[in-house]
Symmetry: C2
Subunit: 410 residues, 2 copies
Amino acid sequence: MSDQISPLAPARFPDLPAIAGLEAAIGRAGFYKHARPDLLLMRMPAGTKAAGVFTTNAVGSAPTDWCKQALSATRGNARGLLVNAGCANSFTGPAGDAACKRALTEAGAAIGVETREMLAASTGVIGVLLDDAKITNALLHMKQAPVSWPEAAAAIMTTDTFPKGAGATCEIDGVTVNIAGIAKGSGMIAPNMATMLAFVFTDAALSAPILKTLLKAETETSFNSITVDGDRSTNDCVLLFATGQARVPPIADARDDRLAAFRQALSDVLRDLAIQIVRDGEGATKLVKVVVEGAASDASAKIIARTICESPLVKTAIAGEDANWGRIVMAVGRADQPVKKDMIAVRFGDFYAARDGMVASTYDEAAMSAYMQRQELEITVTVGPGAGRAVMHTCDLTKRYVEINGDYRS
Amino acid sequence: MSDQISPLAPARFPDLPAIAGLEAAIGRAGFYKHARPDLLLMRMPAGTKAAGVFTTNAVGSAPTDWCKQALSATRGNARGLLVNAGCANSFTGPAGDAACKRALTEAGAAIGVETREMLAASTGVIGVLLDDAKITNALLHMKQAPVSWPEAAAAIMTTDTFPKGAGATCEIDGVTVNIAGIAKGSGMIAPNMATMLAFVFTDAALSAPILKTLLKAETETSFNSITVDGDRSTNDCVLLFATGQARVPPIADARDDRLAAFRQALSDVLRDLAIQIVRDGEGATKLVKVVVEGAASDASAKIIARTICESPLVKTAIAGEDANWGRIVMAVGRADQPVKKDMIAVRFGDFYAARDGMVASTYDEAAMSAYMQRQELEITVTVGPGAGRAVMHTCDLTKRYVEINGDYRS
């Protein structure tokens, strides 16, 4: 947690809908030297279904390994979630797995949930074994209560400068249902996935397979379409819980039309949380939306967009408010994707820098420079005649990023 | 060119052997506001053979396009080289191609070489059309003379803080031959290839196909094994010229044993130049050698090494002299290569941080912290039981990098 709040932070934490049956407790295990909550324990009512999407980092972590196994063993039944900040419990071998399980057993006992129905998420320094005794001690002082979303979101923060939440209300077949989510993340953020945790809750009664299908699809255009520094953590996870308190008619297929509004609302919530993570990118002063059009396929467009978004030269130019479009062209070229050089165009907002493979005839340095001073930028890049398109969000690379990350452990 | 010389710069420019028959002229076309040479024109004797390796960036540039076509059309016959700094002449369409050709025609006329036997290299801002009239004017004041290597190396610099040269003398079948090379590069440096230009000359009488085979092979472990920022330019090229003044017996095959010493000497020169480029990495304060062992293949090891070397979190930790080995483990995990988690080990110099998939029992934070204060670091990472191995050089990511690149064009 930093003293300086990101200049890109939203004005305030949003009002999120209550999710019936959900309880939470905040605590302090003491994984940080300074006095701040670092523990969140949530309790879901009986019948809650859950699904998760996890980091593709090959090293992984004890909590993500646990969640994958537990969700599979229980077929998506989960009633408890324990999250700690300050220790990732990644790369800690069998001892880390045992510590994770002990912490979950203690936390489950405290809220009357069996260990097998508990899920875990950890974030913090990699390679440090989770000291679960600290969690056991903290549990003595934690009391379940209706969820305070801002407090829950604050308890899972690490280098985040503001708590992140998003919510929506929609209908499934005439029944009103609610969605509320919180997330954390600011560095080690890359597609598939960021160093981020996100927990999203709905009261809709939906099956675990449907939750999983929807979560996977909507993660692709939200959390998998942001990048801060290209680094992808060992602990990333997005969990979606459905408490089932809003009794919607049984739906068997994720493609059912009656889910359209819910799907859109879920997508909005995930994307809102994802963009908030970019807004809290370490040292960020600019939020940048990169749109790549005309690629051979959507997948190809996404690779090009990611290459632009992760280019240190592009990111530092944006930090310097320099419309250095040549570096964007360089990044397009180094993405190793099929592009048509003579059709490449680069646009900052409405201002063309390049068109048809060279500097635009309407090139207006003054107008572009003025545009670059905005906090929120949109860069549109055409790479050829194809129909492939992708949108990715990133932020700039500043001295502050180097400062934050040069001295993280001490 | 910066006022501050990189702290990693060699103590002095090396003494390079003379290459018989070679001449050079230095000039100032005025691509920079400040008074400094930005033009190098070299003349090679009749019978010179040449080979090149060029950027794989899909956008490319007028000079690299020209060189590829010229080397192919003349089957490796080249007698002149024109290099300018300050304008990349990349992404400039047909007008850029025409400007490149006009500049070569004028330069060729000045030294009595046909345009088709001229090669070109440009480095500088992307997207700006080469103003060849500036070159034509400068040519009037340039006089060919025996090569002064330090001056030639300085004339091709952009953001470089010191001129780069390397040389060697060896024997081919009892005949003494010399190699001398110069290079430039400091930002936009990535494998395949860096924003770098390198020109290497030998007096050995070798055929163009042999030059090409040797250059390609030795580029892989030199210029293609360094990375500063992962960005790969539109203009990179390495050119190797053999003037043929040292009459060695005809050799038909690059694998001929009589070439062993030459091959090794060439490899040494290329690697020396490549590491000098990393030493001049923008804002660099640490030179880092990353060795990856135990991978499934050499290629897989190289991908992992590159992921470590390009991770902003690893690079900023090194800048902060923090032995944050967890980030190295994270980078190993996100390289998407086959690794054996339980065998992962990370060593800083001789100090093990991690071993057998978790923190090392001999972990000594004080010793590692002391080690991290060195200017030159070696990080060895074991990722599994395989025989795959790779070595890559990189530098740290500092605030100065952000500073240099946030304000490059202005």
